[in-house]
Amino acid sequence: MKLAIALVACLVATGCAGLDDDVNSGRRIDVFGPYRGAEADAFAASIEEFEADTGIQVRYTGSANFVSDLRQRIESGVTAPDVAIVPQPGVIDQLADEGRLIAFDDATATLVRENYPSDLVESQAGEAMYRAPYRASIKSLVWYRPSVFDERGWSVPATLDELNQLVESIENDDDPILPWCFAIESGTATGWAATDWVEDLVLRQAGADVYDEWATGERGFDDPVIREALTTFDDLVIGAGQTVGGLRNILQTEVSRASAPLFADSPGCALYKQASFAESWFPDGTTIGEDVDFFVLPGTDANEAAPLVAGGDSLVQFSDEADVDLLMAHLVSPEGSREWARRGGFYSAATTVDLDAYYPDADRQFAELFRGGREIRFDASDVMPAAIGSGLLWREITSWIAGATTLDEFVATMDAAYADADTP
């Protein structure tokens, strides 16, 4: 199958006659991304067959400091990767503006158009294509253990108000169980887990239009609705007695380890808000739907389906060698993620994928949520200009959570950075 893709890529691409000469030059292709641990294993497994079929060697390296490391690799010139998997559209826009990205060859571009919904690729239609969707995720999920809820008579909340009431009941429970598991440590990206929380609250409390204005910089941080979302987040999650381990744990525990108390025999927390990809951080053998389940963070109105904040990792290319073109063609095709999808923890926005045949049960639920007609917005901080959304915001929200800055200082710093960016 991989060979078929290679051949299709070759047939569609110009200069195909050079297959023997150009392909498999013997150089190893470097792929750089944010996946580590089990996710890195799953990604590597998804390209094993490609390597076997083509003889092309691929090395995947994943870093917790992905954004800053990618910047350093590109600017150093000698260590730039051939392909990168970037979760932040803002970073990709900046790289494209700087002329760092290589446009996809025809084979890859065709495969992207064939496999993905047009709204995901239309912004690039008619011009050179620089990015391809890869792994999608739903950020607005709250994980809980049904057995813990059943024992204590708690039920899944239908509105934000009900969520507040549930949090109060958990606080008043006799057991030493706290409402939330939450932590934000993630190297130079520390803070992203907190921005996800705030984005979900903005989208629910202020609506999609305001959310879009905020994400694109038309609406600043020092705005009543943004302040309201930040205050809600503070009251609901950060406040004393709301989160396992308190502030110290929030700041020092790695994001991927935050859910551990949820799974303890005597659970430390009842709720854990994290994206769909959190399933790969759960203890081995955890069955979603039995050991742990999820609900979408509720909206303000029980009669309307709550909107979703979505994330998505995109593929970009830094080298135009024939081997790299072949790898890109493989990665954008459904084959490029089949092994990861089989293992669980992968969902793609590709419309050509048959949900029943492709995904394990839990991932199929995510896919159905995606296709269920809800209002969906991309992670706002990832859409913001890279210097603001993928750096400053992470640092500033962390300082604010730590108590090093006040809410006033935090929003003022963010708006000042926008003002500076606008000034030529």
């Binding site: 750089f32 641990g37 294993d41 590597a44 090395r59 390296t61 870093s63 260590t79």
Partner: protein, 364 residues
């Protein structure tokens, strides 16, 4: 004591130059060596072996009381020493430990094919084993509170939770020494050396401590170390005694000896299986540590490794490293790739950077 070979009518006696193949290789070797050595143990040497454990009556009871007290004391010393991470204290415990006596008595009873003595000796060993583990457990309950995380385990304790083939080698050599020393009262001054070389009570105290801490794998491995030592000492002390002329003195004893030695050889072979896995893992870990050291130098020659924790398993390398340096750290992904270039496996790296800066200030 008659030479058993002269009375054996069941097995053709092999000549030194023509092995018949009817004995095990070890048996053939022992026979050959015996014919070369051509010696018989003296009366005094027999007595020394017979006196290891009193045979029944009030004397045996007194012996068991004395033995139990020494076990409790040595296991307590060992457990405290292990928790305090003091090698000197643990060696002290080895010198107090009385387990070597019943184990070598078991080896002697194996060689002389005296079942009553063998069972009695093994019963004493089993009692001592249970007692030492229990003492380790209780001491850990009292004094193990400082260990709240498996990573806090003192190195003295940790060293006894991963036996390898090297430990088997030590136990075989030390067991042979015990077998040689025991019948000769003139050489008994060397016996404590055997006890230190092949420690018996510290691994048992380790079993008790780690079991109490809920570290079942560590407890199993420490017990494996004890079983390794036990089996290897009985085996090699038995061979040493056989070579120096000790034989079964009853009719048909030769076959009994062969059966018993075969059982000890089988036990040693069985413990060698997990030990060889451990040895392979140790060698892989060593190779990984070397690869990491080289990679760090290639990555940034200005930094030094402060702490390195490297585990190789299942075709992957898990590396945790604390480095110190003066300048800004270079990106960690480069180090991970340098490690992979040298170790050729999936690498998971956790890098902590500690600035090599010290500020001391006094204000008056």
């Amino acid at each position: 004591m008659p030479d058993g070979a002269d009375h054996d009518d069941e097995v053709a006696l092999p000549t030194p130059t023509e092995p018949t193949g009817q004995l095990t290789p070890i048996g053939s070797f022992a026979t050959w060596l015996r014919d070369v050595v051509k010696r018989q143990p003296s009366e005094e040497e027999h007595e020394a072996i017979d006196d290891l454990i009193p045979q029944g009556g009030p004397e045996f009871f007194e012996y068991v009381v004395r033995f139990s007290l020494l076990i409790v004391m040595s296991a307590a010393i060992a457990a405290f020493g292990l928790l305090a991470n003091s090698a000197a204290v643990v060696i002290g415990a080895m010198l107090v430990a009385p387990l070597m006596t019943p184990i070598t008595a078991a080896a002697a009873a194996t060689v002389t094919a005296r079942n009553d003595r063998l069972w009695r000796a093994l019963a004493v060993v089993a009692w001592g084993t249970a007692l030492a583990i229990a003492v380790g457990w209780v001491i850990s309950l009292i004094a193990g509170g400082s260990i709240v995380d498996p990573r806090d385990i003192p190195s003295e304790l940790e060293a006894r939770t991963f036996p390898t083939l090297l430990d088997l080698g030590v136990a075989v050599a030390a067991g042979a020494a015990a077998g040689y020393i025991l019948p000769r009262r003139s050489t008994s001054g060397a016996l404590p050396g055997v006890g230190i070389a092949v420690a018996l009570v510290p691994p048992l105290a380790t079993v008790g401590i780690t079991a109490e801490l809920g570290l079942s794998t560590d407890a199993r491995n420490a017990f494996l170390l004890f079983i390794t030592n036990l089996a290897a000492i009985i085996f090699s002390a038995g061979v040493a005694l056989a070579v120096t002329g000790f034989r079964p003195n009853q009719f048909g004893g030769r076959r009994a000896l062969r059966t018993r030695m075969a059982i000890t050889v089988l036990t040693v072979a069985l413990v060698a299986i997990p030990l060889s896995f451990h040895t392979r893992t140790t060698l892989e870990d060593l190779r990984l540590r070397r690869a990491v050291s080289e990679a760090v130098t290639a990555w940034d020659s200005e930094v030094t490794i402060v702490e390195l924790d490297a585990d190789a398993y299942d075709g992957r390398a898990s590396v945790e490293i604390l480095i110190a340096g003066r300048g800004d750290p270079l990106p960690a992904w480069q180090l991970a790739e340098e490690i992979q270039d040298r170790f050729d496996a999936a690498v998971d790296l956790r890098l902590l950077y500690q600035r090599d800066e010290l500020y001391t200030v006094s204000v008056r």
